[in-house]
């Protein structure tokens, strides 16, 4: 009997279960670890609900975005407390439904967050890959540029960039994205420095693969885990930063609802109409918290050793 014949299954019951189960990939194991992380699942659920709210905001909101009440209408519409006249979260100083504004605000905040993280992660990864893989003067230039950018706090850097570009929602996305680049670039550079010395990279180089192909096909997949974790955690930071810019009047244009700018407008009435600032503030807090819970779960799923070590 050959060895192969011995391994040939005869019947399902006779098989060694360990032998039958196909080996799990690293991604499958990460997937399972993520779903075991209850906080992450809860965070993801909340994030999905918020995302659905953002996508279907126009259906969910009970009044149009550009609502304008006349002087007489305002007398009965302004500053209604929550659960009054069908207003779940009350109304603001110009009679608009706070719930509708909060729901529409999620669209702006999530859009800014995703775009900013997208810009930062793509550009940061490319710079980091190039610096780590090529080394030499490329590494020197990229690393020194990163050092300079890291010398400034992210939000301050974003405000400086906005000052140069001019304040607007699109520019806020760009500014936050640019401000986030050095973080990604530094992480990816470090991971690439380690990966480029691995045997399979030398082998790929030996068989004449191009540098671009090596970087994208062999190194990038191996540095993807920290990038994904950073992106998730960075999303929460970007949403917070976007709200901060909105609070400073540097993001969305009126009358576009945006959580930060709504907070700024309503703070003057905090002790009289608490619901406007409270619900907008709670929306920011819940969104950021859910994103961070997902990020935490992803980190444990993709990098369990680091997570255990961190604990």
């Amino acid at each position: 009997m050959s060895t192969d014949a011995l391994r040939e299954p005869t019947s399902a019951t006779a098989q060694d279960p360990l032998e039958l189960r196909p080996p799990r990939s690293e991604w499958q194991m990460s997937y399972r670890r993520f779903w075991r992380h209850k906080a992450a699942v809860l965070g993801l659920s909340i994030l999905i609900i918020i995302s659905i709210g953002a996508i279907f905001a126009d259906v969910i909101a009970i009044e149009p975005e550009e609502t304008f009440y006349s002087f007489d209408e305002l007398q009965t519409k302004k500053w209604l407390p929550p659960l009054t006249d069908g207003h779940l979260m009350g109304t603001d100083d110009i009679g608009r439904d706070v719930f509708s504004r909060v729901v529409r605000g999620s669209r702006v905040s999530l859009r800014v967050g995703f775009f900013a993280v997208g810009i930062a992660s793509i550009a940061g990864t490319l710079f980091g890959l190039a610096a780590g893989y090529f080394g030499g003067w490329v590494d020197q230039v990229v690393s020194r540029a990163i050092d300079v950018m890291l010398a400034f706090p992210d939000l301050l850097l974003a405000i400086a960039i906005l000052a140069a570009l001019g304040p607007s929602l699109v520019n806020a996305m760009v500014a936050l994205g640019l401000a986030g680049i050095p973080g990604y670039a530094r992480v990816v550079r470090g991971a690439t420095l380690a990966a480029r010395e691995l045997v399979y990279v030398h082998a790929a180089r030996a068989v004449g693969m191009s540098d671009t192909r090596i970087m994208l096909r062999h190194i990038l997949p191996n540095v993807l885990s920290p990038i994904l974790i950073m992106m998730t955690l960075g999303l929460g930071g970007a949403i917070l930063a976007a709200s901060a810019l909105g609070f400073l009047g540097l993001a969305a244009d009126p009358p576009t609802p945006e959580w930060g700018s709504e907070l700024n407008l309503s703070r003057a009435y905090l002790r009289t109409a608490w619901w406007v600032s409270t619900f907008n503030g709670a929306a920011i807090a819940v969104t950021v918290l859910s994103v961070n819970m997902v990020g935490d779960g992803l980190r444990e799923a993709l990098d369990p050793q680091a997570s255990s070590w961190a604990r």
């Binding site: 955690l233 608490w274 619900f279 807090a285």
Partner: protein, 659 residues
Amino acid sequence: MSSRGLVTRRKVMRGGLAALAGGVGAAALAACGEAEVVEKTVTVTVTEVKEVIKEVPVEVPVTKEVEVERVVVKEVPVETIKEVPVETIKEVEVEKVVEKEVIKEVFVEKVVVEEKLIERAKELVPGINIFSYPEVIPLGPYNPTVGGEVSYPTFGNANSYHPLRAASRASVEIGNMIHEPLYVLGAGNDFAPLLAAGSEVQDDRTQWRIRLRNDVVFHNDEPFNADTVISNFEEIFDESIVRGGIVGFANELNKVEKVDDFTVDFFTKIPNALFHKPLTRGYRPWPLVAKEMGEDFDFNPIGTGPFKFESWTDNVELVGSRFDKYAWAPWYSANQGPAYADRAVGKVLSNDSTARINAMEAGEVSFLLHFVFPHVQRISTNPSFRVLGILNEGMPQYMPINTQLFPTDDVEVRRAMIEGIDRRTVTVRANGGVPPVVVSNCLTSEAVKGYNPEVNNLYTFDVQKAQARLDAAGWTLGDDGFRYNSDGELLEIVFPDTGFPVRELFKLDVEKSLGISVQIPKMEGSTFNEQMQNGAFHAAYVGVGGPDGDVLWDRFHTSVYGLPGRAYSRWMYTDPPGEATPGVELDALLDGARVEFDESKRIDLWQRASHIIMDNALMIPFVTEFLSWIANTDIVGGNLYVGNFALPIWSDWYDKRVG
């Protein structure tokens, strides 16, 4: 994972939790602090404003009479005035008889208007005591006690307490416990002498003789006299010294000469009937010793005010101690002697309205200005606080329209904007969520000398009429809801966003009601000013103040084009920027008013200027606002004088906690 990644995550987590905690805390705080609305009886005070009797009725004889005046004042030497043909004099006398008949009607109308305004205010803001402007308001029974401390708030840091360089709000507002002007603005919007004893203008009307009080001394015992004024103006004229806004006043003068120890002559470049105005705020005397002190004087000031400088903590407070020799309070102050309180504290508060109201409720300050009206209902239930609203009719908020930029170069577009914008609603957020009581139709309104009731009726809020006006002017509504002309050009205006809370409702209203597209680029103050001066925008939202129609000169005279904060309408303006168009009708009227020494004729000229401005729709007047005050009557007693540009009269306040 890099350490940076971990740190970022923690920050984010902390941020999220902090925001959640903040939200919950805010909810709890508000739930605890929410007070039921208590209706209070509001005392209605209707004041007979005598100047209105004079200013309003001139409407009938205006056209005939002033045309004669213009020729006389502008082109004929002063002496010639006495030689005006007898026929003209007779004409004036006949018209004066007519004036008397009109007076009663207008006066009654004025009283009715004020009653209506106050009643309306009571409805809109229950719990507030509404007063007309200007007014002396007792804070309660007058039982002064000596000692203790009174405090008054301001916001923004002080750049200097040297009157030569003072430019910030704090420098003037709380600095006036130390420094005093020669004149103050008193009841009836008339100028009353303070450090001056009186004045007369000489025959050529460019020489003003100011008599000074002879009993005034500075805090360092240095006497105040003509030498002081001469020395001060040597510094004001000295271009090698760093000077503040007082330079503007100096530019109007040729020289200042001493006549005797307590008399000074000011020589103006052109006749100026409004010479007293810069003497109320622009010039506040400082002692000779300031020259030796140099820049040390900026924050170690010496003045003649009721309190001597004690200390200044940057961005926190200015502290003064009682000046026992003080005996020259404004005539309308109940206390003519030294201040009652031992100490006066000018507090620099945050610009945030909630923080200010918290400081007030914590007893950090005796007064609060410019509070947000939504707080009124809660605050007015507290028996310690007296909530006051002063109908500040002289300071409408307005929007100048650039008349040289397409499409607002079309007068019909400008007129449609005045008629079609729901001005009362658009400004509701700018006025703390409370719909303003008075919709203004001109820069000079009601209590301002120069108010023209006829102008007030030029436009009424009528959206259909505004839309029809645009239709007739060739601006047709497109499928996208916006208007286009026959060349397919979009009817769009650019309105800079400087953070003023009127922008959002303005855009919504103008786009929805009139089909005019509104672009709102964001920008900070200095960029806005620079671009506005260059005529880059169609409109902006600004405010203006002043006791008389001279505010029109400040905003519409072509000679001020290109200066910060001025004349954005650019009407009848020629390139290159900065050059005025000579001889235009509006300039002539405004110049004429400045050199017209007869008040009724001066008012007439302002009224005609108002008519031109509004007929050509050079600006959109919005609303007049409240001056809002709260006094903590557990802490402070005395009177509130809102006439003197709302500056505090420190010596008449006393600390009720003493004794």
